[in-house]
Amino acid sequence: MTLSPSDFAYVAGLVRRESAIVLTPGKEYLVEARLLPVARQAGVASVAEFLGILQRRPDQNAHRSVVDALTTNETSWFRDREPFTALTDVVLPELVTSRISTRSLRVWSAACSSGQEPYSLAMTLQQFLPAGWRYQITGTDISTEMIKRASAGEFSQVEVNRGLPVQLLVHHFARSGTGWKVTPALRENITFQQMNLTAPLPPMGAFDVIFLRNVLIYFDVETKRTVLRNVSRLLRPDGWLFLGAAETTIGVDESFERVAIGRTSAYRPRATVPAGTLGKG
């Protein structure tokens, strides 16, 4: 998935005109990743096709969507907050009871981007888990570049301003140049690896909690089904799956049931799968 130089120049020109933000060459991956959901929303299968239509028939609303997607969607810490509230209010109290014999939890951040999600999960677990408990977090992303960044654990001043309570900043980070770097204590129980969720997954062991947030929006329904099937094999039968606010398993994979928690939802494997609901569109 690479953007042609002329498509990239078109997008860069549009974004610069509308927002004064300059997209330098090398940001093709970012443009492609951010615009894919916009293209799908418009009912088009690829970013190239979407940009082709837009260049032939300029449309003010579509221009706005492109600019928004490229300028306002930075990754926040504790993104959307509710999933993290659901963890501390419902999920972790239950797991602390059910895993009392092993006192150990495994969590997967399945599209971790630059790492804000797995580090937010680590901060949540450190705050919540009783003494003597262990946790292990796996962060994966399709982009090798993102995995490199996430693994380094270094963030700019602008990035740490996004949704990270300052008490957690001073507790879990140290100044590093003009930015901040996670402390070894936060970094130590997290492993990062590059992974394509649509391909057969490597053996990783079973997880108690999986965050698969804002990933399915990039895929068509068949691919969504493949990803959910891949992921569900790695979720413990009493585990919890968290999706993005605009995503659901309903109508895609009926082996999950939705559980409302506060203002959000989580998904759990059904004990029994209703007959005839798997593998059909």
Partner: protein, 117 residues
Amino acid sequence: MRLILRRIVGQLGFEVADAEDGRAALDLLAGMENVPDLALVDWNMPNMNGLEFVTAAREDARLREMTLVMVTTESEQSHIVRALAAGAHEYVIKPFTSEAMIEKLALLGLVPTGANT
């Protein structure tokens, strides 16, 4: 900077008053019938700096309910720790985006989560 902050919190529906420095802010607050919900405080100000203002505000029982947020270029960890110890609730380091400011205010329960979306 004051103009930018005025615009951000103004758009969120806050009524905004501003003061030159910490001393002027305390005088302004003393004359107000209702204590504001929120004070956005720079560190570097003449007469009374932000840290001194936060300390003074925390010692004043009348201002106890007012949320204090430092908004400053002072980005050393030691500065942040001192501000928190003095009683600041949050600390926003410049530069920041309006989304970042709104998210911080959401963390403090002053605006609904997702107010910027």
